[in-house]
């Protein structure tokens, strides 16, 4: 169990580092600088040994001149140390930040490339932390921990060598004092990797509860449930505090074993050193230097212990980033190998298409149909009948579990995304807007458009009056997610955005569900005019859309049960469509 864990930790570290080949450019140079940088630390104890043995305790009284020379040389070494340390630090920062910026961007892009289902299976906050907090953890480790670790290793190596030169017996004493630490550190690392995971989970849960209390503030207010919400908040905050403190406690206890080892080492060196000295194997200066060296050995071991503990955090960060990057998008862009959609109007063909959400029942069953180019089709059915799934398969937000979808005879999975997304545009029911102006939002579809183009587009859609009623017209800020506008107004902007994209196949998924009937009817008429010559497929809740469509597709419990022009479908009064229509009339007359 433990070996599996540590193997997977090493493998994560290996794969994590492999993500950033930049980290290894000039690694040898950095390590060389690190070695130089530690030289200064060892130089001081050596200077003291030389100073005491050959200077202060020189035969015939202290030799100040010699001590001056020793101090001068050591000061020079210290200067070299400082300069190498500067360059090493700069290198480390530059290299690691460059590598991490590219990991951030790559992960960001990869998240957008994941399929809609993948994206939705994660909390939004968790996705954001993949490109922020998780990468920051790695950066913390590389720059603080990683640097310290490299320096510590260098210091350990150099110190060990010098210690051996002075006295191999005392070196063994020091090693003996530190040997048990290896087991202690391993024990605590296993605990800490679990505890840090708990910390991150409890923090994630806490953020979720806080977000809920902020986003759901109107509901909290409307139902007066401040106390209940406060209790939930307190619980989550307390759980995260406890988890953090537990991890901290374990970290500190593990650290204190390092101090214990240091005490043992020092005491051991004094006792053993004195016995050796009495035997004439050691001078006072050598023993003093060794005491210094033992301290120099202790510090990096303690630092390395702490760094290794914190590495658990970074490894968790890497693991989460790798989770994303190593997830193959299940709805993938065929890329350059794919085909472009042929020019001209687009026709649609579903060939025995089935669809089920992972682990769920089938929501679409054996849909087999053709939509001719240039027709306006309405897809109707009750909520939960599978209408929206139909739209998502059509725009390749998802792939069918069985069967295939073809546009202009080309299987959708072969169509390059750049061709698909420029020719096929969907307007979802929730018309998400960016926190920018209306103009920025519409221009999102086609960045080159001028304000005049945008004004014209709104005019063509018959929305000039509405636009003029806004305080700053096109320059009106829409707020976060468009929330400064009403739900219906957001849908108007989203529709304009799709309209300027000028697609050959326009898919409207209840795109006007919150718009008032008069505006909707007006939009419908203008869309009918401006989309003439293209293929339009409208998923509709309001049957007014179906009435004006060339053809209606009726979906019921995942199956297409009827299709044809509105008038034809009504001929059988017992049909599902006739029932839907009767209910519609009841609502609207």
């Amino acid at each position: 169990m433990t070996t599996v864990e540590s193997v997977s930790r090493t493998s994560i570290l290996r794969r994590g580092l492999a993500l950033s080949p930049e980290l290894f450019t000039g690694l040898a140079g950095t390590l060389g600088l690190a070695l130089l940088a530690t030289a200064g630390r060892v130089a001081v104890p050596v200077a003291i040994q030389q100073g005491i043995d050959r200077g202060i305790r020189a035969q015939g009284g202290p030799d100040l001149g010699l001590i001056g020379t020793i101090v001068g040389i050591t000061a020079g070494v210290l200067f070299v140390t400082m300069i190498s340390a500067y360059f090493m630090n700069v290198r480390l920062f530059t290299v690691s930040e460059t590598a991490l910026a590219s990991i951030r961007t790559r992960t960001f892009r990869h998240i957008h490339d994941l399929s809609m289902l993948h994206q939705q299976s994660e909390r939004r906050g968790a996705l954001v932390s993949r490109v922020t907090g998780d990468v920051d953890q790695i950066s913390q480790f590389l720059q603080f921990g990683g640097l310290l670790f490299v320096v510590s290793l260098g210091q350990l190596t150099v110190t060990t060598i010098v210690m051996f030169v002075y006295s191999w017996q005392l070196t063994l004493v020091v090693f003996a004092a530190f040997a048990p630490l290896v087991f202690v550190v391993r024990f605590f690392q296993r605990r800490l990797s679990v505890l840090y995971l708990e910390v991150r989970e409890s923090v994630g849960a806490m953020l979720g509860v806080i977000a809920e209390s902020v986003v759901g503030a109107p509901v909290v207010r409307a139902h007066g449930i401040q106390r209940r919400t406060a209790e939930r908040l307190d619980g989550a905050i307390e759980r995260s505090r406890r988890a953090q403190f537990r991890a901290q406690t374990n970290n500190v206890v593990s650290m204190s074993f390092g101090e214990l080892a240091a005490g043992l080492a020092l005491a051991g060196v004094v006792v053993a050193g004195t016995l050796l000295g009495v035997g004439g194997h050691l001078t006072v200066g050598q023993l003093t230097a060794f005491l210094f060296l033992a301290t120099l050995f202790v510090q990096p071991v303690q630092v390395a212990t702490e760094v290794l503990n914190e590495a658990q955090n970074a490894i968790a960060g890497w693991r989460r980033v790798l989770d994303v990057i190593e997830t193959e998008p299940d709805v993938a862009d065929p890329g350059p190998a794919g085909r472009a959609l042929p020019d001209g109007p687009i026709d649609v063909r579903f060939e025995h298409v089935h669809f089920a959400y992972p682990g769920g029942p089938e929501v679409l069953t054996d849909v087999h149909l053709t939509v001719a180019a240039r027709t306006r089709v309405a897809v109707v059915g009750e909520t939960g009948s599978g209408k929206t799934t139909f739209a998502k398969l059509l725009t390749r937000l998802m792939d069918p579990t069985r069967g295939r979808v073809l546009l202009c005879g080309v299987p959708l999975s072969d169509v390059r995304f750049d061709s698909l997304r420029s020719r096929v545009v969907m307007v979802p029911q929730d018309g998400f807007l960016f926190d920018a102006t209306i103009a920025d939002n519409v221009r999102f579809a086609r960045p080159g458009l001028t304000d005049a183009d945008l004004t014209r587009a709104f005019a063509e859609l018959g929305l000039t009056d509405w636009l003029d009623s806004l305080p700053s017209g096109l320059r009106t800020q829409v707020g976060e997610r468009g929330e400064a506008l009403s739900v219906g107004e957001r849908q108007l902007v989203a529709l304009a955005r799709a309209y300027v994209a000028d697609p050959d196949l326009l898919v409207l998924d209840e795109a006007t569900s919150a718009v008032d009937p008069a505006t909707e009817v007006r939009l419908q008429r203008t869309l009918d005019t401006v989309t003439r010559g293209r293929t339009t497929i409208a998923i509709a809740h309001r049957l007014s859309t179906a009435q004006s469509a060339d053809e209606v597709i009726v979906v019921d419990r995942g199956r297409v049960v009827q299709r044809g022009p509105h008038a034809d479908l009504l001929t059988d009064p017992t049909s599902i469509y006739a029932r839907l229509y009767a209910s519609w009339l009841e609502q609207t007359r």
């Binding site: 305790r57 009284g61 202290p62 100040l64 001590i67 210290l78 300069i83 920062f93 910026a101 961007t105 960001f108 892009r109 957008h112 490339d113 939705q120 939004r124 954001v128 490109v131 922020t132 920051d136 953020l207 986003v215 503030a217 207010r221 409307a222 139902h223 449930i225 908040l233 905050i237 953090q244 005490g263 020092l266 004094v270 006792v271 050691l282 006072v284 301290t295 053709t370 180019a373 937000l397 997304r421 979802p428 029911q429 018309g431 807007l433 960045p447 997610r481 009403s486 219906g488 107004e489 989203a494 955005r497 919150a514 008032d516 009937p517 007014s544 004006s548 049960v561 009827q562 209910s583």
Partner: protein, 635 residues
């Protein structure tokens, strides 16, 4: 795109940061005096023992080792005593480490928890108007990242305090040992402090910028993933990645600039004590030559400089974190000091039956912090008499949702009054308000909780029986009954495991479960079958054993819904243009007639065109049906 920048925090470039930062630390000490005492005690113990280590080592070398070497023999007892002395100092240091780090950890995490609670409490009390002025992302980071950065310096703070004690003790002990070597210390220690202060000065603006950019990177990612569907369907992944990469590169450069400062100062801080050691060696040798000091003193002092090097860095850590801490603290204070809590009145409602709602000359604007903003509603006057149903109709963007929010006192009017049974909503107690009025919003909000939790919201007097009745009335009992765990099923973040229609019905059930005296439906029934809607409204109009009767204000477009209303209020651009029955308004309000008869008119027009088309263009239709012939509908 010209995305709005999030506000930049406090001005941390000024020299006042040190003073402000120390005041923040003062708050921390006052908030957590016990943990602070524990950690400082631990730290001081550790520091003093660190100095003791130097002197014990020196003493052991001078009193035991040197005589032993000189005489070529050693008393085992004395030697073991020396070893034990060193070891027991180490054990004492371990105690110090535990006290210092556990105390500091407890202090830091307690403070974080305390201020997270305080900030979120404010969120619950501040009015929605305040919420609307602050982006969600800012509010989240106030409660999370800002609280964290405010208390970042707490981790090294007790260490730093202990180190100052240690420095003082070190200088004293140096003077007790030898004044000449003490002078080296007097030169080195202030230099260390000075370099540390210069370091934090240089770091402040750079760290603040990096922090700002980190927030911006996060904001871009958050928004972009929020709009992932739009990005995908418009094929804008590349341009979004560019937008993100741009910020990521800015962050990279800012962090590298921070790194350069660190790279410059860190080695200097590392080397200073070493230079001190060398100076002591030189001065010590000179003093030894004069016979003023012994070998053991020289060893002790050099050792002292070596062990001091590391703890002195703690002061630098605190100073380096102060700017970030000040920014975080000031952002927290912005929330804690925000004024304008929703103040509830003292009046309770006496009636238990349907309540009458009245708007009198109400004006409303969504204002910025300065109180500016265009009017969304002006001169709105209407009433929902007790037990009656009033439909609120108007074009998109005419202010209907704002009226609904005012009716439930989610916001207060800028002018005019909103009353319930004659009492101004602002005079009512919170219990009276939420006990009498229920609002179902246009976009359903579902908590990450069980179905039961979402319906009952732990309100008093709502048991499972009531919950099921409400679910049944909202036609949500069907799907809830099919869920594996029924009422105990958890619905995920924002109710992701439910469909939009299911979420809507759940929030309707939530409102009904409270047996309101006034129900406000803000276009909340679009996913509900009209027959269900009629059943809900009908049940609320007559009191029976299970349901209390209620007055109803319903925002609607559907004729079926409007038909159930006793009166219609027609709104246009924030003003009440007409009031009356549906039939009256059809006659008198042309805008209203256009709106509610839009579908019929469209159909009539279509029929006229069809008749026209049929005369002229039969081959046009043939073309359209060509494609349909090969269709095979598999049912």
């Amino acid at each position: 795109m010209a995305y709005r920048r999030t506000e930049v925090g406090a001005d941390v470039t000024s020299g006042k940061v040190l003073g402000k930062g120390l005041r923040v630390l003062g708050h921390a000490v006052r908030d957590e005096p016990h943990m602070f005492a524990v950690s400082v005690a631990g730290s001081v113990l550790f520091s003093l023992l660190t100095i003791t280590t130097a002197f014990v080592s020196g003493a052991v070398v001078g009193r035991i080792v040197v005589p032993a070497f000189d005489h070529g023999r050693v008393a085992t007892g004395t030697l073991l005593l020396g070893g034990l002395a060193i070891l027991s100092v180490s054990l004492g240091k371990i105690l110090g480490i535990l006290g210092r780090r556990l105390g500091a950890g407890a202090m830091q995490f307690n403070l974080q928890a305390k201020y997270r609670r305080a900030v979120t409490r404010r969120y619950l009390r501040l009015p929605l108007a305040w919420h609307q002025r602050h982006p969600t992302g800012t509010l989240l980071s106030n409660a999370n990242a800002d609280v964290e950065s405010a208390w970042y310096p707490i981790a090294p703070f007790p260490f730093a305090v202990g180190t100052i004690v240690m420095l003082v003790a070190a200088v004293v002990s140096l003077f007790l040992t030898d004044w000449a070597m003490a002078l080296v210390g007097v030169a080195i220690f202030p230099a260390l402090l000075g370099v540390n202060v210069a370091y934090s000065r240089r770091m402040s603006p750079r760290v603040a910028l990096a922090q700002q950019l980190r927030a911006e990177v996060s904001a871009v990612a958050h928004e972009s993933f929020d709009g992932a569907l739009v990005v995908k369907t418009m094929g804008r992944e590349a341009s979004e990645t560019e937008r993100f990469a741009d910020k990521a590169v800015q962050l990279r450069d800012a962090t590298i600039r921070v790194g350069r400062i660190r790279a410059l100062f860190d080695p200097v801080l590392d080397a200073l004590p070493s230079f001190g050691t060398l100076a002591v060696l030189l001065v010590g040798a000179w003093r030894y030559q004069q016979g003023a000091t012994g070998v053991s003193d020289v060893v002790s002092v050099t050792f002292l400089f070596t062990v001091l090097a590391f703890p002195v860095r703690a002061i630098g850590w605190v100073l380096a974190e102060l700017p970030r801490s000040v920014v975080g603290w000031e952002r927290i204070r912005h929330v804690l000091d925000a004024e304008g809590d929703t103040v509830y009145g003292e009046t309770a409602l006496t009636g238990t039956g349907p309540a009458a709602l009245r708007f009198t000359d109400v004006r409303f604007a969504y204002t910025d912090a300065e109180g500016n903003g265009p009017d969304v509603l002006s001169g709105v006057t209407f009433e929902v008499p007790a037990g009656r149903t009033v439909a609120l109709v108007g074009p998109t963007g005419s202010g209907k949702s704002t009226v609904a929010a005012l009716a439930a006192r989610l916001v207060d009017p800028g002018a005019g009054t909103v009353t319930l049974d004659g009492a101004d909503l602002r005079e009512l107690t919170q219990d009276a308000l939420v006990g009498s009025t229920a609002l179902v919003a246009q976009v359903p909000f579902v908590f990450d909780d069980t179905i039961r939790g979402n319906v009952t919201l732990d309100r008093a007097g709502i048991d499972d029986g009531t919950a099921w009745r409400a679910l049944r009335l909202a036609q949500a009992d069907g799907f809830v009954g099919h869920l594996a765990d029924g009422l105990d099923t958890t619905v995920g973040e924002r109710g992701t495991s439910l469909s939009g229609g299911q979420r809507q019905r759940l929030t309707i059930a939530r409102a009904l479960a409270g047996s309101p005296q006034l129900l406000v439906l803000d276009d909340a029934t679009s996913a509900v079958d009209p027959r269900v809607e009629a059943a809900i409204l009908a049940a609320l109009r007559r009191a029976d054993g299970a349901t209390r009767a209620a007055s109803i204000l319903v925002v609607a477009y559907r004729r079926a819904t409007i038909a159930l209303a006793d009166e219609v209020v027609y709104l246009e651009r924030g003003r009440v243009v007409a009031r009356g029955t549906h039939a009256e308004l059809l006659e008198t309000a042309p805008g209203y007639a256009d709106l509610v008869t839009a579908y019929e008119k469209a159909e009539e027009e279509r029929e006229r065109e069809h008749a026209f088309d049929a005369d002229r263009l039969d081959d046009g239709l043939d073309r359209a049906s060509d494609g349909l012939d090969e269709e095979s509908v598999t049912a």
